[in-house]
């Protein structure tokens, strides 16, 4: 199971500290959302035995600038995320094959519907269930976040769209263990299997993209063989 986190300078903990906590909590891997974060993948995985994945979360104001950032950063990272939050950005993200994950689709003014769910399934863009507000907000904002999660869940189930689960931790103190997330998920209407699948999906995205970035990869199912020059 993997989790995706923000790290220093965008968050309050460095990548290695997040990795240490994630290992302790039983995660197999960590996707780093912050582009500016500096870290040594090998040193961290040697020390803590965790797979650290370079990700980039594109936070753009409109689809045009998001498209520019996606083009610039696609080759630099294993997991490319686009932060949603407006209808235009959500729509752009789910209709772009090069995007792996649409994060926080229901934040702010963002909304989701059957068209976007179908597009996400067609373009295999994972939709993120953001548990951050469920764990850290209270009152009205939390109620709205729960309403958003429910709507998103119903659409994702109906159209069989791929999804990921994350708590959007800015610091290692905001991380929660997979078992705790399953317990929270069951309280708010998810099944434990959905949460597990959502956490495992991060690892599947990373593995798929790493394979594609491999020199021997030509297209799905075709690899450069032993006898090629």
């Amino acid at each position: 199971m993997y989790e995706a986190v923000a790290a220093y300078p965008a968050g309050d903990s460095t990548v290695s500290r997040q990795a240490r906590t994630a290992t302790d909590y039983g995660y197999d891997g960590l996707v780093v959302r912050t582009r500016e974060a500096e870290f040594d993948v090998d040193a961290i995985s040697d020390r803590y035995g965790i797979d650290v994945v370079r990700g980039i979360e594109v936070d753009a104001a409109d689809p045009e600038s998001a498209a520019g950032a996606v083009g610039n950063h696609r080759s630099e990272c294993s997991v490319l995320l686009v932060r949603g939050g407006t209808d235009a950005l959500n729509r752009y993200a789910v209709e772009t094959d090069r995007v792996d994950v649409l994060t926080r689709p229901m934040a702010g003014d963002g909304d989701f519907n059957h068209v976007l769910a179908r597009a996400a399934a067609t373009h295999s863009v994972h939709v993120e269930f953001d548990f951050g507000p469920v764990l850290r907000a209270s009152g009205g904002p939390r109620v709205q976040a729960l309403q958003g999660l429910r709507k998103l869940r119903e659409l994702v189930e109906q159209y069989d769209a791929p999804f990921v689960v994350s708590v959007n931790a800015d610091s290692h103190r905001q991380l929660r263990a997979p078992r705790e997330l399953r317990a929270v998920g069951e309280q708010i209407g998810f099944t434990a299997d959905q949460i597990t699948a959502g956490l495992e999906a991060w690892g599947e995205i990373a593995a798929r993209n790493r394979e594609r970035a491999d020199d021997r990869f030509i297209e799905p199912g075709v690899r450069r063989g032993r006898y090629e020059p």
Partner: protein, 159 residues
């Protein structure tokens, strides 16, 4: 009041919880219990919160790390775990926590899951972000003091 006969006494489970906070955070048992009730009330509602009957039994905390034992009704351990996960801060001080395990007695809970480790943190100066900076170190982790606040790091980040 006379205590209940054994077969109709409520059955309890004890959750071993490990707590982590900023080194300068000051958390006591009362504040943690309040945060727990508040989290349970918000997530599970009055009914679920009363069913789970969450009580902080043991509580130990010093210098940013601590341990607690939380009692819940036997049938409600999943709800208790969920409520615990929703505690993000105690007295406006952010905390991280994880359930290490669940036992049927306080003693088994302490012996199996809580390490009772001493924090023994030291104040030191470390090289981070192109400068020597004051830090509070424990094991291989450090809370580095920057102008904008503490940054949590490990030895791997010193250079």
């Amino acid at each position: 009041m006379k205590h209940l006969p054994k077969h109709i006494r409520p059955r309890w489970r004890y959750l071993a919880v490990e707590i982590e906070a900023a080194p300068d955070a000051d958390i006591d048992r009362g504040a943690f219990q309040r945060a727990l009730w508040y989290a349970a009330g918000n997530l599970l509602g009055d009914v679920g919160s009363a069913d789970a009957d969450l009580t902080v039994f043991g509580f130990e905390y010093a210098d940013g790390i601590g341990e607690a034992i939380v009692r819940a009704r036997r049938e409600e351990t999943a709800a208790a775990r969920a409520a615990l996960a929703c505690i993000d801060s105690v007295d406006h001080q952010p905390i991280g926590l994880v359930v290490r395990g669940i036992s049927g007695t306080v003693r088994a809970c302490e012996e199996s899951y809580l390490r009772g480790r001493s924090p023994d943190s030291t104040e030191d100066s470390v090289a981070f972000a192109d400068d020597q900076r004051p830090a509070i170190c424990r094991d291989d982790v450090a809370e580095i003091s920057l102008p904008e606040g503490f940054v949590a790091a490990t030895e791997l980040d010193f250079h």
